[in-house]
Amino acid sequence: MTLFKIIKKECLQNLRDYKLMLILTLMPLATILGMGLAISGAFTMDEIDLSSIKIDYILEEESPYSMGMDVLFNEMKASEIKDIDTGVVRLESGDVDAVIQVVGKSVEIYYNEEFSVKGSIVEAMLASYTDQFNITSITGEYNQDNDNLVKVRYMAEPDDASAMDYYGVAMTVLFGFYTITMVLSSVMKEKKSGTFSRILLTSSSRIEILYGKTIGGVLIAVTQLSIIMLVTYFAFEVNWGNLLFSWLLMITMAMLVVSIGIALGFLFESEDKAMGLTHGLIVMFGLFGGAYMPLQELGFFGQMGKFFSPIWWNMNGLLSMIYSGDNSMLLQSLVINLLGSIIILSLVSLKLNKKEFVYG
């Protein structure tokens, strides 16, 4: 079948470009190692003990949701305060790592800049609690102990997060997106050399050609990500939570990344312009994904922009699963990756079917 021939050819070509393969595999490992060691101070000398995170909270309205929160905060040894101003002053002076204000079902988190990683962990836990609450509140009508259920789920398995843990995940996701450049370059090279048009001259269907190229790219990307995951897991002892679940998310992320690379490759005629846009996109995805700085630094734009960043979706899914044991966010990210790939590939196949790719 043509599909397998193209997959084989893609894999062969990518594997032979060993310099690029090495860069895309070793760079993230070097960065994870460097960041993990260099920024370990931000994680209270290597590791964060979740029970050491200092939190102030305010519950302004009583509801089943806020009651559940109250239980959660007690477990986290958080201190209740009366007004937000007091919390902000304590946050600025570094007495606490985060201040949480609960009004009805609305939760606002204020991070301490210097300990933003701790704040991110608190945010992930609260997001996870909120998602879980939406489910348990329904069953709560029949089971008055649902808050206990929540409490046990979240606090029974406290975990320690080191800088290596955080950057192991963050950099793997971020560098995973640089695979877009590899795929883009491959498509551009095929277009420029005329080999793509030459393939189109055969009786192979355009869909076969498109999916052959996509699957070939995904196999290579998954191989790279798997190597990075395994090295960080065994050599750097990065916490990947459930390794299988993390790997499954990485597969769908590779699909999304390869689809974006293929789409950009077919959309643009100039490789320079496409590469420029790609690097810009990855930086934006990283910025709004929280890979470079805490999202609250970006204010309203950060909070809104994160939803458009596939890096944020993937990071959020992984961190929720790893630190909160919440697989629902992971599943959500997985579905978003898959849907994104399908939509992008469908648009590319529509463009391919227009037959404007002439030979020569």
Binding site: K9, T195, L201, Y359
Partner: protein
């Protein structure tokens, strides 16, 4: 059997009419030359034959079957040698041929054998394990051809396959085209080089402004632009000689003399060489050389299109 039949093909790009109601018929066994300046519509026509681009109207028949979505398998019988070398620099010569041949449905032993045969045909067997980035321009051109012929297509379309290569490789390619034709393949050959068309093609179509403005054998094309031929005789020189008697020979229209050359203009269909030679012998003029000069294909092209082929 008709290998390619085009009926009233029209293709428009925005305001530009690239192909204007072209009718074309290429029979099995022909080497059909497609001549035309840049932008004449040759490449668009080839793309339409290959189903790479859609046409606005008209019909394409390949091997007497209408080319539509149901007959894509017909593309398996076509091999295209693109003008630009379209091979993978990071695959070996053998892997390149193997990959493209596999896309035409060849498998296992047949695929392996045909790959070897194609490389042998273009003289690259000894270089089969090397990557094309180490090849000369001529070798790359030959590999470009091997990728198009390994599946033994009934129709081979070659778009200026000798551009930018050394004379040795060029000769190799021209002889290869002849050989492929002898082996049964019909060839469509586009070129800017008139001598290639004259050497190879059994029929030539001249394309200009999206139309086939003239078509036929080389002789037929020449006859379109003139009904005369010229004979140049080189003598041992005798400025005293004035062979006026030559004008009496049937078919001779005009005789001029300059130094050792006698130029005789005749009607195209006249067959009077023997009489001319006899007449010159009677005048004791020693003949050193006789040249029969028709109108060149280049001149015919210029006359038909108003442009030189390389314009």
């Amino acid at each position: 059997m008709s290998v390619v039949r085009l009926e009233k093909i029209v293709k428009r790009y925005a305001d530009v009419l690239a192909v204007d109601k072209i009718d074309l018929n290429i029979e099995a066994g022909e080497i059909y030359g497609l001549l035309g300046p840049n932008g004449a519509g040759k490449s668009t026509l080839i793309n339409i034959i290959c189903d790479s681009i859609s046409k606005d109207s008209g019909s394409v028949y390949l091997f007497d079957q209408l080319l539509d979505k149901k007959s894509m398998h017909l593309k398996n019988d076509i091999g295209v040698v693109p003008q630009n070398i379209a091979i993978y620099d990071d695959l070996t010569a053998e892997e390149n041929v193997h990959f493209f041949a596999s896309l035409y449905g060849l498998k296992k032993k047949e695929l392996k054998d045909r790959t070897a045969q194609a490389l042998d045909f273009v003289g690259l067997t000894d270089h089969r394990k090397k990557k094309p980035k180490t090849f000369s321009g001529g070798m790359k051109r030959r590999l470009n051809i091997a990728c198009a012929i390994a599946h033994r297509p009934k129709l081979i379309i070659m778009d200026e396959p000798t551009v930018g290569i050394d004379p040795q490789s060029k000769n190799h390619i021209l002889n290869a085209v002849k050989k492929l034709n002898d082996q049964g393949s019909t060839v469509i050959y586009t070129t800017h080089l008139m001598e290639e068309a004259e050497f190879l093609c059994s029929r030539i179509g001249i394309v200009d402004h999206g139309r086939v403005i003239a078509e036929g054998t080389k002789e037929e094309l020449q006859s379109i632009v003139t009904d005369k031929k010229q004979i140049r005789i080189t003598s041992d020189i005798s400025s005293e000689i004035m062979p006026l008697a030559l004008e009496e020979i049937k078919g001779v229209l005009n005789v001029t003399r300059q130094d050792q050359y006698i130029d005789i203009e005749c009607t195209k269909e006249s067959d009077n060489i023997t009489e001319i030679v006899l007449k010159l012998s009677e005048e004791n003029i020693k003949i050193k050389d006789i040249q029969l000069k028709g109108v060149s294909l280049e001149m015919a092209f210029l006359s038909l299109t108003g442009r030189r082929l390389r314009d």
